[in-house]
C-alpha cells in the first residue's frame, strides 16, 4: 500500500507536487500539444486494415455496365422534378415498381423552431420514397441501404439516376442474402431523420410522419450517395456524423479497398493522398486533414445524410462524387462498379460491423490514429487540472495548523462557499433554458424576430454574468477570502479532471 499509507513517501510526493507544480503544468501542456500534433506524422500512425473477417478477399468480378441507363434516369428525374417543383413522387414510385421493387411512400412534416430564412415558412413538408428489393432466398431479417437525397435546387440528380440503375441491375442477381432498401429522401437531414425514426418506431425529434408500411429488418450498413455531375474525377468519403459520431473504420477501409481495385481516385476531406510524408508540406497536409476532421466532428453537425444513421447503431458513410479540373474522368459505370462491389461485400456480413475502431482520426485514407493514441494527448492537458487541484488541496490541508497563538480566521462557512457555485450553475441553466422558453414571449412584446430573440436573451444573460465576480466577492467578503477562493478553485477544477482518470483504454 506504499504510496497511500507510508507517510514519508507521501510527504516526498506532495512536496514534489507543490514545489514543481508550475513547471510540471507547463511541461504537461507542451507534451499534450506536441503529442497531438505529432499524431499526423506518418511513422507514428498505423496503416488501415480490414478487421472484419467476412470482408476478406475481393475475388469478385463486378459486372455493372449500365452507366448510360443511369444518366438517362437522372435526366428524366431532373425533368420531372422541375415540373413538380419537389420530389416527383409518382414518377419515382412508378419507376421503382417497374424495376421490380416493393415501393412505399412516407410523408412527414415538421414545425421548424425558427422560420426558414428564404421563405419565412414554419412548416416543412415532404415525402420519402423507398423501394425494397427482397432477397430471393433469405429470411427477411437484415438489410443494407442505399440512399440519395433530393435536396433543394437541381443537384444530386445523377445520384438518383445511379440508384435506379443499380436497383434494376441488382434485381437481376441471385446472390443477395440481405434485402436492399433504395431510399430517396426529401429535404436532406429532415427527411432522413423522419424515415429513420419511423423505421425504428421512435419519436425523438417531434416529426410527424405517416406510419411506415414496409420494413426490411435490421439495417446492417448504409451508403448515402451524392453525385451532381455526369462524370467525376474523384470520390470523396465523408465520415463525420451527428455529434461527431463516426462509423466503424471497416466501412472506410472497404471503400478504400474498392477504390484501389477499380482504380478510382479517392479523397478524404477533399484532399488527395501524398507520398512525401518526410517533407514539411507532406506533414502539414496530413496534419491539415486530421485537424479538419477534428473540426468537423467538434461542430456536431452531420456532414452528410449518413450522420443520422449512426445513432441507431447502423454504420453508414456518405460517398460524394467530385468533378474537378483533372484530366482523367470516371464515368457512371465505374462508379456503379464501385458501389456494386461494396454492396456485394456488405452482403457477406454475418453481423454488424464491430471489429474495427469506432473512435479514430484519419490523417489520410490509408493511415489512422485510434483513440488509444490520441486520448493520452488530451489526458496530459487534463492532468494540469489534476495537478492544480492536488496543489490546492495540499495547501489547504497544511495552512490551518500554522498558527496556535493568534486568533484564527474563521474559515469560510459552507453557505458562503456554496453561493457562488450555486449562482454560476443557475446562470448556466438560465443560458440553456431561457432563450428557447422566452422566445414566444419575446416576439410578442418586443419587435424582434425569433432568431434575434434567442440571441438577445443569451447576450443579456452573459452581460448579467459579467457582474458575477463583483457579487460573489461581496458575498465572500471577510477574513476567510483567500482560503475560500482556494476552496472554490478546487471544487471547480475537480469535476473537470475527474473523467480524465478513466479515459478509454
Amino acid at each position: 500500500m506504499g504510496l497511500l499509507s507510508d507517510p514519508n513517501r507521501r510527504r516526498a510526493l506532495t512536496n514534489l507536487v507543490t514545489r514543481l507544480n508550475t513547471p510540471l503544468c507547463v511541461m504537461c501542456y507542451i507534451v499534450g500539444i506536441t503529442w497531438f500534433l505529432g499524431l499526423a506524422f506518418e511513422p507514428f500512425t498505423l496503416r488501415t486494415y480490414m478487421s472484419e473477417n467476412a470482408m476478406g478477399s475481393t475475388m469478385v468480378e463486378e459486372k455493372f455496365v449500365y452507366g448510360d441507363r443511369a444518366l438517362s434516369y437522372s435526366r428524366e428525374f431532373s425533368g420531372h422534378r422541375k415540373k413538380v417543383g419537389g420530389l416527383p413522387v409518382d414518377w419515382l414510385g412508378k419507376t421503382m415498381k417497374s424495376r421490380g421493387l416493393e415501393v412505399y411512400k412516407q410523408t412527414f412534416s415538421r414545425t421548424l423552431p425558427f422560420p426558414d430564412e428564404s421563405k419565412e415558412r414554419y412548416m416543412v413538408k415532404g415525402t420519402n420514397v423507398y423501394g425494397i428489393l427482397r432477397a430471393p432466398r433469405a429470411p427477411r431479417t437484415e438489410s443494407i441501404l442505399l440512399s440519395a437525397t433530393c435536396s433543394e435546387g437541381s443537384n444530386n440528380n445523377q445520384a438518383v439516376g445511379l440508384l435506379l440503375a443499380l436497383a434494376s441491375y441488382f434485381r437481376g442477381q441471385i446472390y443477395w442474402a440481405k434485402d436492399i432498401i433504395f431510399l430517396v429522401n426529401e429535404h436532406d437531414l429532415i427527411g432522413m431523420e423522419a424515415w429513420l425514426e419511423a423505421y425504428h418506431d421512435v419519436n425523438m425529434t417531434g416529426i410527424q410522419s405517416s406510419p411506415m408500411q414496409g420494413r426490411a429488418g435490421a439495417i446492417q450498413a448504409a451508403v448515402s450517395l451524392e453525385l451532381s455531375s455526369d462524370v467525376i474525377t474523384s470520390f470523396d468519403v465523408v465520415v463525420e456524423g451527428l455529434n461527431g459520431q463516426l462509423p466503424n473504420l471497416d466501412l472506410v477501409n472497404l471503400f478504400y479497398a474498392f477504390c484501389q481495385k477499380i482504380g478510382m481516385l479517392c479523397t478524404i476531406q477533399g484532399k488527395l493522398q501524398r507520398n512525401d510524408w518526410d517533407t514539411l508540406p507532406g506533414y502539414s497536409h496530413s496534419l491539415n486533414t486530421m485537424l479538419l476532421m477534428v473540426l468537423k466532428q467538434s461542430s456536431g453537425r452531420p456532414q452528410g445524410d449518413h450522420g443520422l444513421f449512426l445513432r441507431y447503431h447502423v454504420e453508414a458513410v456518405t460517398l460524394r462524387g467530385i468533378n474537378s479540373f483533372r484530366q482523367y474522368k470516371f464515368d457512371m459505370s465505374t462508379v456503379g462498379k464501385l458501389i456494386e462491389g461494396m454492396f456485394r461485400k456488405l452482403n457477406n456480413l454475418l453481423e454488424r460491423f464491430h471489429q474495427s475502431y469506432f473512435f479514430y482520426l484519419l490523417p489520410s485514407l490509408t493511415r489512422f490514429v485510434s483513440i488509444g493514441y490520441y486520448m493520452p494527448a488530451f489526458s496530459f492537458l487534463i492532468l494540469i487540472l489534476m495537478l492544480r487541484a492536488l496543489d490546492l488541496w495540499v495547501q489547504l490541508s497544511n495552512t490551518p495548523r500554522v498558527q496556535d497563538d493568534e486568533e484564527q480566521d474563521p474559515g469560510p462557512s459552507m453557505l458562503s462557499l456554496a453561493t457562488p457555485i450555486f449562482i454560476c450553475h443557475l446562470t448556466g441553466l438560465a443560458l440553456y433554458f431561457l432563450p428557447i422558453l422566452s422566445q414566444d414571449m419575446a416576439t410578442q412584446h418586443f419587435p424582434v424576430s425569433e432568431t434575434e430573440a434567442v440571441v438577445f436573451t443569451a447576450i443579456a444573460i452573459y452581460v448579467a454574468g459579467l457582474a458575477l465576480p463583483h457579487n460573489t466577492h461581496r458575498a465572500l467578503s471577510g477574513n476567510g477570502t483567500e482560503c475560500g477562493w482556494k476552496f472554490e478553485t478546487l471544487i471547480s477544477s475537480v469535476p473537470c479532471c475527474a473523467p480524465w482518470l478513466y479515459s478509454a483504454d
Binding site: 507510508d6 507517510p7 514519508n8 459520431q245 475527474a498 482518470l501 483504454d505
Partner: protein, 456 residues
C-alpha cells in the same frame, strides 16, 4: 490536567440548541427531502431512473414487485417464472398499499432518517459520558486536548446524519426508482435504533426482519451483541458466565424471531417456494444482469465446473471480515456496525446505490476523524467520477455498441475500490485516534525528536 478540564468546561458552556429547535430542523429537512422526491416522481425522469441497473437489481426492482402482485392476483405462486424475488411479507405489504406506493417509499426514507437521527443522538450522549468518565479518571495523556470531542461539535451530528441520508443523490434515486432497498434500509435503521436504545428484544426482532429481507444482515448480530454487552457492563470474555447467558438470550431471541417470521411466510403463501426464490437466488447468483457489484462479470465468464467453488468464495468474502473486525473493534461496536454495513454493501451479490447510501449516512458520526484521514480527496474524486461514468459507459456499451462489458466492469471495479479505500481510510483514522488517546498526540522518541506513525 487542569488545562484539559478548563478546555472541556469552556466548550461545555457553549451554546446548546434546545431540543425543539433540533426537531424543527429535522422536520425542515424531511420536508425538503419529500419535496425533492415528489418533484422527481412527477417528472419524466422517474421511468428513466427506474430502469437504471445501478439503482435497481433483480432483487428489488419495482417492476418485479408489480409482476409478483399480478401473479398473486391470478392465484399463481408469485415465485413461478423466476421474476419475483421478494419475501412474502413484502408482497402482502404491497398488496395493501399498492395504490400509495410512492408515499410508502417516501415514508420509508423518512423512517430511516428519523431512526438514524434518534440513534445517533443517543449514541453521542453515551460517547460523551464515557469520555467524561475517562477524563475524570485521568486516563488520557496530557496533550490530547484537541482530540477530545466537545458538545458543541457533537450537537449538529444527528441532523447532519439525517441530511446525509435524505439528500444523498443515491438515496433520492433509489426512492424515485421505487426500489425496495429503501424498505430494507428502514428496517436496518430501526434495528440500529433499538440496539442503541438498549432494547434487546426489539433489536433481535428487527435484525431478524432485516435478515429475512436480504440475508446478509445476519453479520450485524456481532456488533449488536457487543454493543448490548458493553451497555450492560458485561465483560466480553469467554470465561464469564454472564457473557454466555446474555449471548444465548439474545441469540435465541434472534433465531426465534427468524423462525417465527419464516413460518409466518410459509403460512401466508402455503409453500416453501420463497426459500429457494429469495435466499437461493441471493446465494447462488443465477441472474447476471450488470450492476455495481463484483459478481456479474466474473460469473459471466466462469465455466460451469468452477461455479460452485467461486460462489462459495465470493459469498464467504462478505461474511469473512466479521470475526477479525469484531476482535479488533470489540470496544467500539458502533464503528464495527458501520464497517460491517459497508462491507455488506460492497460485497453483496446484488448491490445497488441504495445500499451505499445507508453506510454513507454514518460518515458525519466520524467527523472528528477528519484530521487523520489520508486519502479522502482521492476517494471522493474516484467515487464522483465513477458515478458519472456509470451511465456514460452503459450507453456506450448497450446503445452505441462502441464499448463492451469490460469498460463497464472497469468502472464497477474502480467504484468498489474507491468504497473500500473510503472504509479502510476511516478504519485507519479511527485506530490512529485511539492510539493517540492512549499514547499521546505528539509522539516523541526517547531522545526527544518527533516520531512518525507508519502503518505496515
Amino acid at each position: 490536567m487542569p488545562a484539559i478540564f478548563h478546555y472541556i468546561s469552556q466548550h461545555a458552556r457553549g451554546e446548546r440548541l434546545p431540543p425543539a429547535e433540533m426537531a424543527a430542523s429535522l422536520v425542515l429537512v424531511l420536508l425538503i427531502a419529500v419535496t425533492v422526491r415528489a418533484v422527481l416522481f412527477r417528472s419524466s425522469l422517474a421511468e428513466i431512473i427506474a430502469e437504471r441497473v445501478e439503482v435497481v437489481s433483480p432483487l428489488n426492482g419495482w417492476k418485479r414487485v408489480v409482476e409478483g402482485l399480478a401473479l398473486l392476483d391470478l392465484g399463481v405462486s408469485p415465485y413461478s417464472g423466476d421474476v419475483f424475488h421478494e419475501t412474502p411479507l413484502m408482497i402482502y405489504l404491497f398488496h395493501f398499499v399498492i395504490d400509495y406506493s410512492e408515499i410508502v417509499f417516501m415514508i420509508a426514507d423518512a423512517i430511516t432518517a428519523v431512526a438514524l437521527y434518534l440513534a445517533v443522538q443517543d449514541y453521542n450522549k453515551i460517547v460523551y459520558r464515557k469520555q467524561k468518565y475517562t477524563l475524570e479518571a485521568g486516563r488520557y495523556p496530557l496533550d490530547v486536548a484537541e482530540l477530545l470531542r466537545t458538545p458543541k461539535e457533537m450537537m449538529y451530528i444527528p441532523i447532519k446524519v439525517a441530511v446525509f441520508y435524505l439528500l444523498n443523490p443515491f438515496t433520492v434515486l433509489s426512492c424515485v426508482a421505487k426500489s425496495t432497498c429503501g424498505l430494507n434500509n428502514a428496517v436496518t435503521a430501526l434495528f440500529i435504533l433499538c440496539t442503541i436504545k438498549g432494547s434487546a428484544l426489539l433489536s433481535a426482532i428487527f435484525l431478524a426482519l432485516a435478515t429475512y429481507q436480504s440475508l446478509y444482515p445476519f453479520t450485524l448480530f456481532a456488533p449488536a451483541l457487543l454493543y448490548q454487552l458493553q451497555r450492560l457492563y458485561i465483560p466480553i470474555s469467554v470465561h464469564s458466565p454472564r457473557f454466555w447467558i446474555f449471548t444465548s438470550q439474545y441469540g435465541s431471541m434472534y433465531l426465534g424471531s427468524l423462525v417465527v417470521i419464516t413460518c409466518l411466510s410459509f403460512f401466508l403463501l402455503s409453500s416453501w417456494d420463497f426459500v429457494t426464490s429469495v435466499y437461493g437466488f441471493i446465494l447462488s447468483v443465477p441472474d447476471l444482469t450488470p450492476n455495481i457489484g463484483l459478481f456479474w462479470y466474473f460469473f459471466a465468464e466462469m465455466f460451469e465446473h468452477f461455479r460452485p467453488f467461486f460462489i462459495c468464495v465470493f459469498q464467504i468474502n462478505v461474511v469473512f471480515y466479521t470475526i477479525p473486525l469484531s476482535v479488533k473493534l470489540k470496544e467500539h461496536p458502533i464503528f464495527l456496525m458501520f464497517m460491517q454495513i459497508a462491507v455488506i454493501s460492497i460485497f453483496k451479490s446484488y448491490p445497488t446505490v441504495g445500499d451505499i447510501s445507508l453506510y454513507m449516512a454514518f460518515l458525519p458520526l466520524w467527523h472528528h476523524l477528519y484530521r487523520f484521514l489520508r486519502n479522502i480527496f482521492l476517494v471522493s474524486i474516484v467515487l464522483i467520477a465513477c458515478s458519472v461514468l456509470f451511465p456514460v459507459l452503459w450507453h456506450l456499451w448497450i446503445y452505441a455498441g462502441s464499448a463492451n462489458s469490460n469498460f463497464y466492469y472497469a468502472i464497477t471495479l474502480a467504484f468498489n475500490v474507491g468504497q473500500i479505500l473510503l472504509v479502510s481510510d476511516y478504519f485507519y483514522a479511527y485506530l490512529r485516534r485511539e492510539h493517540h488517546l492512549i499514547h499521546g498526540l505528539y509522539l516523541k522518541k526517547k531522545d526527544g525528536t518527533e516520531e512518525t506513525l507508519i502503518l505496515k
